[in-house]
């Protein structure tokens, strides 16, 4: 055990899986070199340094700096997966999915199904998401609901460094395509992470706080904000359960429904847009299956239905905050017979 950042945890997962299984290769734009660097140099190690050190250790045959055309290198990775390798390809910003979406949506996601289970596609697409980086509308989106919508894809959203290492190792060992979302504002967040390899099963939610009054379901970076809100509310006498689903596909509906049945109230926190997002999806799940347990309307805390603003002041307001989560919990509490809102 030692303290590792989210960035180091992802790097360690890649390194350990490449050491364990020679079929694991990585590819993507600038994952070794970068602007102004000769191709063989370990100059950047990815735009934010996540893959640094891998090219010197594993060489150019297993660490492929690609050209700037997602449609071809994501397609090449899918083909490599279909023919026996286990590629981890980096789609730098998830905002760029538009240029390679056919490869993901119509090819990668469908192979296993359309070939009657005879083909496996052990492909991982690592990609950055999320606002707070002053990177404007085309580099800040949370597009995981789009991928979650597509059967055949698995979608992982690690909420801290420990989760990132275990979920990435699981993703690489999984025989299905996995879209692995890394929040770019979390790369420097540190915590204790085991040095040994380990894997966290998909579809098993993590209950990070246990309480009696309200269930908060949160995704990715929002889990940390939900935990802070829960800790603050605990001091005010409101106890919250916080559920981190870890993966949106497969989704651990059992833990979500069980905890809502215990608390009777639900707040969902999602950095994505509100329409057809995870927040409305969870709300629908609970309304359909745990309606009788609810003592108050479900509250959603999401970004507004607008592009991510470039103005720092507006971007800060855009992202769900601890204060907004606390307010939603208080609103849920004020509805029923429990403690009144302030």
């Amino acid at each position: 055990m030692s303290k590792k950042s989210y960035r180091q945890a992802i790097n360690e997962a890649l390194r350990q899986e490449m050491e364990r299984d020679e079929r694991v290769i990585i590819m993507g734009e600038d994952i070794s070199g970068g602007t102004g660097a000769a191709g063989d140099q370990d100059a950047w190690g990815g735009p934010l340094g996540v893959t640094k050190g891998l090219r010197p250790q594993f060489g150019p045959d297993r660490v492929l700096d690609t050209h700037l055309a997602e449609i071809s290198f994501v397609g090449a990775a899918a083909g490599a997966a279909l023919t026996g390798l286990r590629p981890v390809v980096e789609l730098m910003f998830v905002d760029f999915m538009g240029v390679c979406f056919d490869q993901i949506l119509n090819q990668t996601a469908k192979f296993r199904y359309m070939f009657g289970g005879k083909a496996v596609t052990p492909l991982v697409i690592r990609t950055m998401y999320g606002a707070g980086f002053r990177a404007a509308s085309q580099h800040s989106q949370c597009l995981y609901p789009v991928f979650t919508h597509i059967p055949g894809l698995k979608v992982a959203l690690p909420s801290n460094a420990y989760e990132a290492k275990g979920l990435l190792i699981q993703a690489i060992r999984d025989d299905d395509p996995v879209i692995f979302f890394e929040h770019k504002a979390m790369y420097d967040d540190e915590m204790e992470v085991p040095d040994e390899p380990y894997s966290i099963p998909f579809g098993e939610a993590n209950v990070t706080r246990e309480g009696d009054d309200v269930t908060i379901v949160a995704f990715g970076r929002m889990v940390n904000l939900a935990n802070q809100a829960a800790d603050s509310l605990a001091k005010q006498g409101v106890s919250c359960t916080v559920v981190d689903p870890r993966t949106t596909s497969p989704l651990d509906t059992e833990t979500i429904l069980e905890t809502v049945e215990e608390t009777g109230r639900l707040v969902v926190v999602d950095e994505a847009h509100p329409r057809c997002g995870m927040a409305s999806d969870i709300a629908g799940l609970v309304a359909e299956n745990a309606f009788d347990a609810l003592e108050a309307p479900i509250k959603l805390v999401t970004a507004p239905h607008v592009p991510v603003p470039f103005s720092p002041a507006l971007e800060d307001i855009y992202i769900p905050s601890v204060a907004k989560i606390e307010a939603a919990v208080r609103a849920a509490m004020s509805h029923g017979s429990k403690v009144a809102a302030e």
Partner: protein
């Protein structure tokens, strides 16, 4: 007033050198009129604790050893027993607050001490109190060593001289199982707690999961560390390993404390073993961990998460299954040491929690008469955590014989 010099006068707590294991406080100390209650240091790595709940009110008389509050750390929740006798005069720290080890939690005195003197005492204590430096050079942390070609994680503390105490945890646990014991024993003894092969941060590769194979690995560790002889303290499966070492390598064992040992009877709660291995979600695993204790509140979310983090390590599940298969079959144990227990030459004692739901305490009945058996009430399978002061006193006492 009893303040002398720069430090507020205080009665030593049970984990300190001269505390006498929670026994009667020295007569001189009993006379002290104002006594502080401070945040205990549970475990070598503990730097702060959260006072979860007071269980006595101001004005109530507390007895030595009476449960007065619940304290939680990131590793463990437990009841705190009063180190002093008297009337509780002040609750200095409120429920839910986290303070460093040694910080003033409350004040006890004779009933006739004036309020103003109590206030002065509190004020002076707070002015003079300095928490130990966090994460300083003195912090003791686990490390990894090579022994017999295996990677073994261990936590070593205490002086260099004296009879070493070697702690061996039970099935599925790790060295942190001894958090509440190791610090107390480290006052006088070199103390080693190891992760057995297949567990914690040690190698997950096992030749086989038998008690004999694990005992051989422990002997390799003793060889590598130059431990010619040690007082072995084992829990559950670790106790069966300790007893096996005492039988097969008697010269290496100066004393033997067996806490809820495996191998003394037929039954074991097969449910516990199966649930511990198969459950991968915290909410599903928790009921099985609650089988380990008499008071289920002692199982914290962190404790459950630590177990899950171990089980997720590469090789951990295979190791657990191999050990379970070698030693347990459904509700019965494959290990049987009862017939040979009388052959152990070293001083040996057995400690059991009366409410043990994994291995029943009646397994300690009808043993050879020279084996001292202590059954502790209101404690389950992990009696060394639930009733640490009592178990620590017993370990010390055996060491003195």
């Amino acid at each position: 007033m009893t303040i002398e010099g720069h430090q507020p006068r205080r009665v030593p707590n049970w984990w300190e050198d001269d505390a006498g294991d929670g026994g009667p406080v020295e007569e001189e100390e009993r006379m002290a009129t104002i006594r502080p209650i401070t945040m205990p240091k549970w475990g070598l790595a503990m730097e702060e604790g959260m006072l979860a709940r007071w269980t006595v009110d101001v004005g109530e008389t507390v007895a030595l050893g009476q449960e007065i509050m619940d304290i939680e750390t990131t590793k463990i929740a437990n009841v705190f027993e009063s180190p002093v006798t008297g009337v509780l005069r002040r609750r200095v720290v409120g429920e839910g607050d986290t303070v460093p080890v040694g910080a003033l939690l409350g004040v006890v005195s004779e009933p006739d001490v004036p309020e103003v003197e109590v206030d002065d005492f509190v004020r002076q204590f707070l002015e003079q109190f300095k928490p130990a430096e966090q994460g300083g050079a003195t912090a003791v942390v686990p490390e990894t060593v090579e022994a017999g070609g295996r990677r073994i994680r261990r936590l070593k503390a205490g002086p260099d001289t004296g009879v070493p105490v070697l702690f061996l945890h039970g099935f599925g646990a790790d060295l942190s199982s001894w958090t509440l014991n190791q610090a107390a024993l480290a006052e006088e003894h070199p103390v080693h707690a190891i992760d057995l092969p297949g567990h914690g941060g040690s190698t997950k590769e096992l030749s086989d999961g038998s008690v004999e194979a694990l005992a051989a690995a422990v002997l390799d560790y003793m060889d590598a560390e130059g431990l010619d002889t040690a007082h072995l303290v084992g829990h559950s499966l670790g106790a069966a390993i300790a007893a096996t070492i005492a039988l097969d390598a008697p010269a290496r064992v100066a004393g033997l404390t067996l806490v809820a040992p495996a191998g003394l009877g037929e039954e074991i709660a097969g449910d516990f073993i199966d649930g511990f291995i198969s459950q991968s979600r915290a909410r599903k695993l928790r009921p099985y961990l609650e089988m380990l204790v008499a008071n289920p509140d002692l199982v914290t979310a962190e404790m459950v998460e630590e177990v899950l983090k171990f089980k997720r390590l590469d090789g951990a599940m295979a190791a657990l299954q191999a050990i379970a298969e070698a030693n347990f079959a459904g509700d019965t144990q494959r290990v049987s040491l009862r017939q040979r227990l009388g052959d152990i030459q070293a001083p040996v004692q057995i400690v059991w929690g009366e409410s043990d739901r994994v291995l029943p305490a009646r397994h300690a009945e009808a043993l050879p008469p020279h084996i001292q058996v202590t059954t502790i009430a209101n404690a389950g399978h992990i009696v060394h955590m639930e009733k640490a002061p009592e178990v620590n006193a017993l370990i010390r006492r055996l060491g003195e014989t």
